[in-house]
Symmetry: C2
Subunit: 289 residues, 2 copies
DNA sequence: ACGTCCGATACCGCCCGGGTATCGTGCTTG
DNA sequence: CAAGCACGATACCCGGGCGGTATCGGACGT
């Protein structure tokens, strides 16, 4: 049984229109050799020569012309089928949770990629405070979350997007401000920002200097921006991923005795919705610079 | 861009008809897990649940029903395109050469597989004598050859189907008949079958005990059957692959100091015809027991 | 004659799509 | 009710396919 896949047909159409494999490869965002190979494989599959190769490009053979004329309709029909199937499934909504402002850029990128791929899906974004590292997943408020480790992950599956070391955010007039790194013992006696009560214990312990501080007096932080402002104004300290963009007057010094924190996409382990898995696929396949 | 391939759609159709992944896997000559995975991936691709999973099988969701109804037409159109393209290319003939009766079984299998895959192609088979190891390739009589090494392969590409040690064919009353193997020195003074004059030197040297014999008296052998008869009747000896089927009264004793001979499919290095490449593909993918 | 511009080839690394073994679960059955 | 069974799901392995880079060969056009 012959099994052409639609991708190679799109390749063929592009080459036929450009009359030039190199230019077609450009349009397809790939390089020339794999495209040459794909065309040759399509020819082998059909047992027919589709292009004449000339020194200045390629031209369609009669068989290639027939394939070109017929293929457009086939691809069009395939797209129509996709739309009809999506319509028949109804407009299933997808709720995405994000951890406060911790994952803004990557979250925006992922969501826009997801929207491009599943145009018929209604996406809602729920930004949660720093008190809930599951960003609403635990509470069932969202279907999938973009957040950070560590937290209690029983019943939750995760895919790591990026693993980032963590550091101490301090004012640039801090005695440690110039250091290449610090360790926990250097930080004894500091006042730390306070997370909301009831937060996941592993999470709270990780982000607040092991919690051995008198932080009853600090106000509760709900976003990273609030944390940074507290550091600037109150002389408290906070932990943050070292790639956190900082306002002027603040620096982050790597903390060398704490494991990195992972930027992850997380979802309930028992999920069956294809949309959630599709979101995870998008996250897996795109580059996280 | 979404890229469903037609294979996964055929999988889907089969599962939808069987209402049972295991049975569908059987019909598709594959096992259940990869089929489950393929269905799930199709669902992810479309962002839609296609089947309800139940303890006794699967049932189509509304979206799945729509896909089922639409997909048949798509696959039918794909098949029609294949036929039209093949027709537009005209009925390109393919000439296949085989080395005498040396490759009968495998040749028959390959040719029938090729015919099944390219039904529109007219295939002709040219059986050559033992004097031409290229089976007509060198002379331009055929497009592709099923033959044996060794021969001068300049300008010729090959794909090895099977590598078989070579042995001496002798009568079962020969002094060496019971031996597990023999070496060239054991065979001094024997009379050997004679190949046609002008055969490829490497080829002739390989198959006739290094050619240091008085074989002016032996008749020229044109097929393996003739060789075997000569051994039976004239007391000459011959070399043959050790898997050569033998008539009663003959045995083959492995020759332990000669490299094996490869059963190969060969074609001109400068080939551009998709049919030749298709034939090679068929040869590569089928099992050669 | 040589540079340039094609497509073709060679080779590499990763991912995908096959496989086997095993699990979880809901239904059946003694 | 416990045990078996039947089904799909999961985990893991392995080979092939499809991306990539580097390079070749050949046909023009100065």
């Amino acid at each position: 049984m012959l099994e052409v896949d639609l991708r190679s047909l799109r390749y063929f159409i592009t080459v036929a229109e450009e009359r030039h494999i190199g230019r077609a490869a450009n349009r397809l965002h790939m390089t020339q050799p794999p495209l040459s190979r794909a065309i040759r494989q399509l020819e082998d599959e059909l047992g027919v020569l589709l292009f004449e190769r000339t020194p200045k490009g390629v031209t369609l053979t009669p068989a290639g012309k027939v394939l070109y004329d017929e293929t457009g309709a086939l691809l069009g029909r395939a797209d129509r089928i996709r739309r009809r199937v999506a319509a028949a499934a109804g407009t299933a909504p997808l709720a995405i949770g994000t951890l406060a402002d911790a994952a803004e850029q990557v979250g925006d990128r992922l969501v826009s990629l997801f929207r491009a791929r599943y145009p018929h899906v209604h996406v809602s974004i729920h930004e949660s405070g720093l008190g809930d590292p599951t960003a609403g997943l635990r509470a069932g408020l969202v279907d999938v979350a973009i957040t950070r480790t560590p937290f209690d992950d029983t019943g939750i599956s995760m895919h790591v997007l990026r693993s980032v070391p963590v550091g101490v955010v301090m004012r640039d007039d801090d005695p440690f401000a110039g250091h290449a790194s610090v360790s926990s013992t250097d930080l004894a006696g500091r006042r730390w920002v306070r997370l909301p009560e009831g937060a996941d214990p592993a999470w709270a312990a990780y982000w607040t200097g092991s919690g051995d501080n008198d932080n009853g007096a600090s106000p509760v932080m709900r976003t990273i921006q609030e944390c940074l402002q507290a550091v600037l104004w109150n002389g408290t300290s906070a932990l943050a991923p070292i790639d956190q963009p900082l306002p002027a007057g603040l620096v982050v010094v790597p903390l060398d005795d704490r494991p990195p924190s992972d930027l992850v996409v997380a979802w309930p382990r028992t999920v069956c919705s294809p949309l959630v898995r599709g979101f995870v696929q998008v996250a897996k396949h795109c580059r996280h610079t």
